[in-house]
Symmetry: C3
Subunit: 261 residues, 3 copies
């Protein structure tokens, strides 16, 4: 794994998550809920999954970060996302939005844009197609997988960062993390990660934990992506297929410390 | 694993899925979503899970197959299933229906029958009790597990195939795949597969991928069941229990190619 | 693992679950559904996950126990929980309630208390904070993780048992199982279990299976917690992290018999 943040920034970010154990409130999709919760526990954070509109105000008030992921969307969940997003925004709690499948349907693109406008997220994380679709409504995705490389989406990410004030993360062979002016990169990971469902959603959840523990969202998001990449390449070294990859990835995340990166 | 389709048909079907990587749109239950998505990725397809009525028209328009599984049902999801099913039916997109728990409650039996009448599915896959319950409303299931052998359900399957025009798949110790006239079988797998939740739902998802990549639904469904059986028996050879079975099954699916069957 | 029930009671309880294979109807959260279903299959029970209000009467009528877990709550699910709980209560079917996150939001505490009042559960299982929050509304939890030790909650558990007539289980380093007068304990397990999401929810599901197979809820609940503890410590002996722990735990549950405890 290679990244443009310093080793000290990465170590400090991991240490902060492990010592603060931030409560990360996730409104995420059904597919990735279990993986995301396990990944958050493995890196030392405390996950809570909750989407009921009526409890969003209270749940958000005890959380260190809010993660909104639109992977399996419907009206009722959008209500919960809006209520939580507005409450978190009012409190200044870091918000991370994952626009899963933006570009696959116009409803997803519109919902992602509406949530961004309403909540002013700290960080937006998606794959190349998703980030491009948020900037140019003509971009189409094939479902939830990217049809663009992360590099193709870089100028869209910079423009999205400037227009929203959010740090924008594009996952891919190379991850780009930009505030519109400064851009960090993370290289590494392993292609087998794309054969494990919810890996992108897990990245978003981990970004939430790091944003809760580090006041600099550009460094926090980069450190989170570096951790994903590192755990991914360590796990891929001995995984025998996509099933054992999922298991090994959690083990490596669990065993990752500031000292052994 | 033993099957009545030819080795060439099986190899061709696997190769088609791996080369086309069809987008499979799943409206499936909460329990099996993660497994199904991982299994689709492992065999080379591209899964998307989406149920929101408003995006069904668009999501279906980009999908190579639609899989509807009624495992964890409610009114809102039924709306999404109907909208997606009708849109896919209009476009001629292959539809696979899994009547989970038909026979356990009359609401499930009625919903499955309504979806079949409305969408004209290409393939229906269930266990013995479920298939029998679709033909004879007096048949009762014990929850979502079968209380009948697959062979007991064969004449019901043939009759269901004739009345609906769908290929009907009965999973069990022997799998039967019938269009009402021609019946294929798959023998193999391992009893430990029944101790892993969502294995039947995963089979349905894989059937969807094969139906998207092969215009002959009888061969497609048989090839899909053969792949399940083969990955299952390879995994069972070294699994230490139901937990490692789930992991090994995905690994074996991931490593399965036309060459190594 | 050390417990205050006799070895014969523990063996008899395990044997009863394995021979009766009770159908356990779960209305549980999205995060833990897959784990809970797999754990129920591993111990020999038959899980069904269903929450649709319209089918609750029929589904409950075929179930040996009903498990209600409020982990990912909303209005629609509360409707299903109430319908199922009232139907099960009317029939005398054992009901187990898991008040996930009681104390984290007032809506969760209120919902848990309302369900308890309405359904008269046989068993209530939670962590220290959750049990304390049900007795004293001023107790606050940090999300779904406990901020109190199980021992701190013991007097609250005894009082809750007396006021509701339910057996109350507090999970923690030591598990306490009390009917308000007699209190059993289970010691063992391993701290890595807290790094696997849904482990508490899984315990609740297993308690449901044991309550379906054993008419004495105090012994049933204690035996279930002993089984969790035993499988947990066996798995922890060779797990390499939280990912392989989840897998190994299911394997150990699958391989657990009255003979090898």
């Amino acid at each position: 794994m290679k990244t443009t943040i310093s080793k000290e920034e990465l170590q400090g970010s991991i240490a902060a998550v492990r010592s603060l154990s931030p409560l990360v409130h996730n409104i995420t999709n059904y597919v990735a809920m279990n993986n995301s919760a396990n990944a958050l526990l493995a890196i030392g954070a405390s996950p809570v999954m909750a989407h009921w509109r009526d409890e969003m105000e209270e749940m958000t008030s005890i959380a260190g970060a809010l993660v909104i992921n639109i992977g399996t969307l419907d009206e009722q969940w959008i209500e919960g996302m809006k209520a939580a997003g507005q409450a978190a925004s009012r409190r200044g709690t870091p918000i991370v939005i994952d626009p899963v499948g933006a570009g696959a349907t116009s409803q997803r693109t519109a919902t992602a844009l509406e949530l961004i406008a309403l909540t002013h997220p700290t960080i937006i994380r998606g794959n190349g197609s998703e980030i491009m679709a948020l900037v140019n409504a003509d971009i189409k995705s094939k479902g939830v997988d990217s049809s663009a490389s992360s590099h193709d989406a870089l100028s869209a990410a910079e423009s999205l960062a400037k227009s929203t004030g959010a740090v924008v993360v594009i996952s891919g062979e190379v991850d780009y993390i930009t505030d519109g002016t400064t851009t960090h990169t993370v290289e590494g990971g392993n292609p087998i990660m794309t054969a494990v469902t919810g890996m992108g959603c897990t990245a978003t959840a981990i970004v939430g934990a790091f944003a809760a523990a580090n006041k600099n969202p550009l460094v926090a998001a980069t450190a989170a992506m570096a951790v994903m990449s590192l755990a991914g390449e360590r796990a891929a070294a001995y995984a025998k297929g996509s099933g054992s990859m999922q298991v090994a990835f959690l083990d490596e995340l669990y065993n990752l410390t500031p000292e052994n990166i």
